[in-house]
């Protein structure tokens, strides 16, 4: 039997069908400096040019033999399209991701425009997906969106949003309803572009910031609406502390859960059982950028697999400045150590 393509491997996994080995990919940023250097471009340029955005994702995936890829690379595009501006740090030395400089400072100021999908860099992202659909037929193509609460924190000041959760609960609920619709519309839009899977990153909602009770009343209902609206494979990703909310994350209805290194994965697997896909959960910066020994890297990846993930995902975007040998060890270890079945996915 011919070897599965990366796309086949990933899509079969999402259907809980047997595959030859664990897929190695991420639904978050996985662009690396080695790919950017090979393209003879700069990190600041790959966010605002469709060819460079698609090229950076594809060159990285091919360079490291990944089974899938995901764009865009930054979380500012939607807020920018809503008129909140963007700082691209063209002149800054090194790698700095785009940010939003002019967030709304008051709930009463918020006015989400109806035409944001055609503004700012949104058309560039659409074009990059078109390019990837043509140039990367053998790879799983992922889109990612911010969850409603995290998107809310991108378009309005986070401390106002957090305090509003207690002081202006009705207004905040209405606002979160609005941004939930934006997240749903973004997911439906990416679906219409033909992406293979969507990761919803509600990264600002872990229990480092919010209580489990608040998560249940203000985050879970909106995330459930988002996953109800998605008809392709979906991933519910939250970084930071998730142990106290992991069952509620599961109840939101995504096909897979993704968590970072703060999660007690053995306990999570015990709580959720072996049917749900779980991705995670290594520290990308601490593992791929700073570790001095590839043996240590291999141990981290093996632990993720032993703890019960179905795909070894970094807990966040891969920090682009990875060590070549660490990245190679990550992928090689998944390929070899991931030959054995994972809790939710058998092997051919």
């Amino acid at each position: 039997m011919a070897e599965l393509t990366g796309k086949e491997r990933v899509m079969k996994m999402f259907k809980n069908e047997p595959i030859d080995r664990m897929p190695c990919f991420s639904g978050q940023g996985a662009v690396t400096v080695q790919a950017i250097e090979k393209m003879e471009t700069q990190f600041a340029k790959i966010h605002k040019d469709a060819d460079l955005m698609a090229g950076a994702a594809l060159t990285s995936a091919k360079m490291w033999d990944l089974d899938g890829l995901a764009i865009p690379f930054d979380m500012a595009a939607v807020a920018e399209a809503m008129g909140r501006g963007v700082s691209l740090y063209d002149a800054a030395e090194g790698i700095i991701y785009p940010t939003v400089p002019n967030k709304w400072k008051d709930l009463d100021e918020i006015d989400i425009p109806g035409d944001y999908m055609s503004k700012g860099r949104m058309p560039i992202i659409d074009k990059a997906f078109d390019i990837l659909k043509k140039d990367a037929p053998d790879l799983a193509i992922g889109a990612w969106v911010l969850g409603p609460f995290t998107l809310g924190g991108q378009i309005m000041e986070l401390d106002i949003l957090l305090k509003g959760l207690k002081k202006k609960k009705d207004q905040i609920e209405e606002f979160l309803g609005q941004v939930t619709q934006v997240t749903v519309d973004m997911c439906k839009h990416y679906e219409s572009l033909g992406v293979d899977f969507i990761t919803v990153r509600e990264m600002g909602s872990g229990t480092d910031l919010l209580s489990p009770r608040m998560w249940k009343t203000l985050i879970q209902p909106n995330l459930t609406k988002v996953f109800d609206a998605i008809s392709i494979p979906s991933v519910n990703h939250i970084c930071g502390s998730t142990d106290m909310i992991i069952e509620m994350m599961h109840e939101c209805g995504a096909d897979a859960i993704s968590v970072d290194q703060k999660n007690d994965l053995v306990e999570t697997r015990n709580k959720l059982g072996n049917d749900i896909l779980i991705f995670g959960n290594f520290d990308p910066y601490g593992t791929l950028t700073t570790m001095e020994s590839t043996a240590e890297v291999a141990d981290v990846i093996k632990k993720c697999i032993d703890d019960g993930v179905d795909s070894v995902w970094p807990g966040c975007d891969i920090w682009p400045d990875v060590k070549k040998e660490n990245m190679e060890t990550y992928v090689q270890t998944v390929h070899e150590y991931g030959l054995k079945p994972s809790p939710a996915v058998k092997r051919i």
């Binding site: 700095i96 967030k103 520290d283």
Partner: protein, 226 residues
């Protein structure tokens, strides 16, 4: 007429219950009763004591960041009234801190909680804000010769900038203490960068900051181990 203990309890409760108006009223009572207590006692044994309690509630997962932010607002409501009346020893050197969130980071919750700690302690605070270019940290530290430089980065993607700033400041001013904070940082990373202190996240900054407030209160009472 209220007693000293009752006024301090009002200040403390107003902070814990995040009641800004109550905190202002209680702070005014401090000023109206100079024979009972000093403004400094109001700050340390009322406001800061309230924040200590908030820290306990945070550590026991009863309070989370939204509550802590509102408690901080209440504390500042009282501090704004009391601080102008705190007697300053003009002969004593005033400690100073330069702080901000590094370029590429528009989050400042952790930074603002750390700032609160220095404000309570009466330090000279130079707050550079957020999304601060690296050279500004260096320029301000060298310009003010601050005792402490505190930098925050919530995003993994911005924390590498700190390393450069630390190297530049330490080269010219090796005595400056450097504190780092931010969700993606670990103690190993902070050590790797050459920093002197570390707070893991906004949450950890609450715990760490409040522990420092506790130390300050003990110090003020002369209860300091030799």
């Amino acid at each position: 007429m209220a007693t000293k203990e009752e006024i301090l309890a009002e200040l403390k409760e107003a902070v814990v219950e995040y009641e800004e108006d109550d905190c202002r009223e209680a702070a005014q009572k401090v000023l109206d009763n100079p024979d009972l207590l000093t403004p400094m006692e109001g700050v340390m044994d009322g406001l800061a004591a309230g924040m200590e309690k908030v820290g306990e509630l945070f550590d026991s997962h009863e309070y989370f960041v939204p509550e802590v932010l509102m408690c901080a607002d209440a504390l500042y409501a009282g501090l704004d009234i009391l601080r102008p009346h705190v007697k300053i020893d003009v002969d004593a050197p005033k400690a100073s801190v330069v702080l901000g969130s590094v370029q590429g980071d528009v989050h400042d919750i952790g930074k603002n909680l750390v700032k609160m700690m220095f404000d309570i302690a009466g330090w000279e605070v130079y707050d550079l804000g957020r999304d601060v270019p690296l050279e500004q940290f260096v320029e301000k530290q060298l310009d003010t010769k601050s005792d402490v430089l505190a930098m925050s980065a919530m995003m993994t993607t911005t924390m590498l900038g700190m390393k450069k700033v630390i190297a530049m400041v330490k080269e010219k001013n090796p005595d400056c203490l450097i504190m780092l904070g931010g969700a993606p940082l670990t103690r190993d990373v902070a050590n790797l960068f050459g920093a002197d202190g570390y707070a893991e996240s906004a949450g950890n900054a609450v715990s760490e900051g409040i522990k420092m407030i506790s130390s300050l209160r003990k110090f003020q009472k002369g209860d300091v181990p030799a």
